[in-house]
């Protein structure tokens, strides 16, 4: 299958040494993209570092002023001002801790159900994958009505029906106890199909001979799952968890549309804070400092994943 990983080759000793013609062509080919990446990714990243050490406000006519580590001090350590940021971090963290296992588990279950030679599986797959092509802004608007207060909301109405009027109605997005959980549920609905497809590809990459060998050894279903499926999917699952964890820290669209971080900051996120600092209040220095902390988190998650993968490769 063309979708299976092809280990990229970094060196190729059979080819002749760089010729002038190749070099000239290579530079022409590579320059537009490299220029774009430098101007719109690398430089902004450096600018973020610079901004985070300055006092810069878009609404103020004063020029940028050196501020040292004061922005970081305020976000991370100053007891009077650090509350919002830690609340955001906690929310992102909670989101990750709940969504990563739940969504990965659900995606794995769906992938296992679909990875069978039964008729109609392609149709089911279509439905599970469909939310993935929905823009998050539209998903948020749809779920705003599903979560609507009182009995006119779809969820409350369903809850009322299944509990014979005993439960609800709940203000899903307005109640501090439920707001984050509500954001989490709709995010899983939108995202699980994406993971499911990646896991399905991983399942199809496990050689059927392994299962044959296992059944010759009289391995039961549990043993086959435990000793063939899980090890065969390990890298896929690690990758999928990494993407979802980083996604959890990027959380923004749904929060912006549905709750604006409320109620009582229970759904605020790191990105929501960065954007509202920079955009709503013009405090670009603070927004940039939050961005830098965000980068540290993302890089840390990636490094941890690389280490886990490397360990597995060394063992096997």
């Amino acid at each position: 299958m063309s979708t299976l990983p092809v280990p990229p080759e970094t060196t190729d000793d059979t080819r002749p040494v760089a010729t002038r013609r190749d070099t000239r062509a290579a530079l022409m080919f590579v320059t537009p993209a490299v220029l774009g990446l430098i101007v719109f990714v690398l430089i902004p990243f450096i600018v973020a570092g610079w901004l985070s050490l300055h006092r810069v406000n878009l609404n103020s006519p004063l020029p940028a002023k050196w501020f040292g580590f004061e922005q970081y001090q305020r976000i991370l350590f100053d007891a009077d001002t650090r509350g919002d940021f830690y609340r955001a971090l906690l929310n992102n963290f909670t989101f990750a801790v709940i969504v990563v296992p739940l969504q990965t588990g659900l995606a794995l279950a769906l992938a296992l159900l679909l990875n069978r030679p039964l008729r109609g599986m392609a149709l089911f797959r279509t439905f599970f994958f469909m939310p993935v092509v929905f823009p998050m802004a539209l998903v948020a608007v749809m779920w705003r009505l599903i979560y609507a207060r009182d009995d006119i909301g779809l969820f409350n109405s369903a809850l009322n029906a299944v509990s014979f009027g005993q439960l609800g109605p709940v203000d899903w997005l307005g109640d501090p106890k439920f707001a984050l959980a509500s954001i989490i549920l709709m995010s899983i609905w939108q995202g699980v199909g994406f993971q499911m497809i990646i896991i399905l590809a991983g399942l199809q990459g496990i050689p059927g001979t392994l299962y044959e060998a296992a059944s010759i050894d009289k391995a039961g279903r549990w043993a086959q799952f435990r000793h063939v499926t899980v090890p065969g999917l390990r890298n896929t699952l690690v990758f999928v968890s990494l993407v979802t964890t980083i996604f959890a820290f990027r959380l923004f669209d749904q929060v912006y549309i549905l709750t604006k971080g409320g109620p009582d900051n229970t759904t605020t996120t790191v990105m929501y804070q960065a954007v509202s600092s920079a955009f709503d209040t013009g405090n670009v220095g603070k927004g940039a400092a939050i961005t830098m902390v965000f980068v540290v988190i993302v890089v840390a998650i990636t490094v941890i994943q690389r280490m886990v993968l490397k360990e597995e490769r060394e063992i096997s």
Binding site: L118, G120, M130, M136, E212, Q224, V284, I290, T291
Partner: protein, 305 residues
């Protein structure tokens, strides 16, 4: 929490109960198990499709019948009035802009990101995977490092840098044309093509340009399809950047417009849902027609790990 309850609790067991069918050599699944499997799948599918069904039905109902509990699913009082209103004029948006304006913005932005991105990123990947030149390793390393950085990591400084160019089309697409992840996807694909191709072509006197446009590009349709789909989905749904850079309706893309639309009372839910259907419809049609490609491109995104 209906979605959880349907599968929660006994994930491994259920997975196992169904794991035997793909096991060569084992007995065929019993009719009972097969039936059970279909029941589970049907229930799950209904739960998954419910929000979409709600959107479609709601888009064809008068606004006061959309928010009606479970009754929102009932296909009563169906009308195309919402669609007429959305397509004809934007009654709720005082700006006087038409639906087609928002559509055009989204189309221009997505088209430019995808089309220019395909050219620029595939060329770079070709130079990185199949040409020998000094500095190749450094550039490749840089690209791989930049893949890690999500757009959110540079949104705030980019907003600061480009603040004078708000409310333009170009500010919505130019920063996204060069894309490290697209380069990486092309790179892995090109690197997997047989080396003999280059040698044969070079013996025939083809230079690097001919080699790329005549041989590599025609052989790499799956890679181009994958990048097209992934970039299109991302750009069609882009939200964070327009929130910061666009406040004038004339250059507002669809996701931003629906968020503005749903924030202004009195909420015309029927029209908002009709707007939503129209916004996702082209993507859905293309998805249903080219489903295999969608699935493959998402799966290929997974090989990054």
């Amino acid at each position: 929490m209906t979605v959880h309850d349907a599968t929660g609790g006994s994930l491994p067991e259920r997975a196992l109960a169904n794991a035997d069918a793909d096991t060569p050599g084992s007995l065929r699944p019993s009719p009972l198990r097969k039936a059970g499997n279909y029941v589970v799948m049907t229930v799950l599918t209904l739960l998954f499709a419910a929000p979409i069904l709600y959107l479609v039905v709601g888009s064809m109902k008068p606004t006061d019948k959309v928010l009606d509990g479970l009754g929102g699913f009932l296909p009563t009082n169906l009308t195309t009035e919402n669609y007429d209103k959305v397509l004809d004029r934007f009654s709720t948006d005082a700006s006087g802009h038409l639906f087609s304006d928002f559509y055009l913005t989204s189309l221009i932005v997505s088209f430019m990101i995808v089309a220019c991105g395909l050219v620029v990123n595939s060329m770079a990947a070709y130079a990185l995977s199949r040409l020998r030149w000094r500095g190749r390793e450094v550039v490749l390393m840089g690209v791989i490092l930049l893949v890690i950085l999500p757009f959110e990591a540079i949104a705030v400084p980019l907003f600061y840098m480009l603040n004078d160019y708000r409310n333009t089309y170009w500010v919505q697409y130019v920063p996204f044309i060069a894309n490290a992840f697209s380069i990486y996807l092309f790179y892995t694909f090109f690197a997997g093509l047989p080396k003999q191709l280059d040698e044969a072509a070079r013996i025939d006197g083809a230079g690097p340009f001919n080699l790329f446009f005549r041989i590599i590009v025609p052989m790499s349709k799956p890679a181009f399809a994958s990048v097209t789909i992934l970039q299109f989905l991302a750009s069609w749904g882009a939200f964070l950047w327009p929130v910061m850079m666009v406040d004038q309706p004339g250059v507002r893309p669809l996701p931003l417009q629906i968020s503005v639309f749903q924030s202004q009372p009195p909420y015309p839910w029927g029209e908002i849902f009709a707007f939503g259907v129209l916004m996702v419809l082209p993507v859905l049609i293309v998805f249903l027609l080219f489903q295999r490609w969608f699935v493959q491109s998402v799966a290929s995104a997974g090989l990054k790990g």
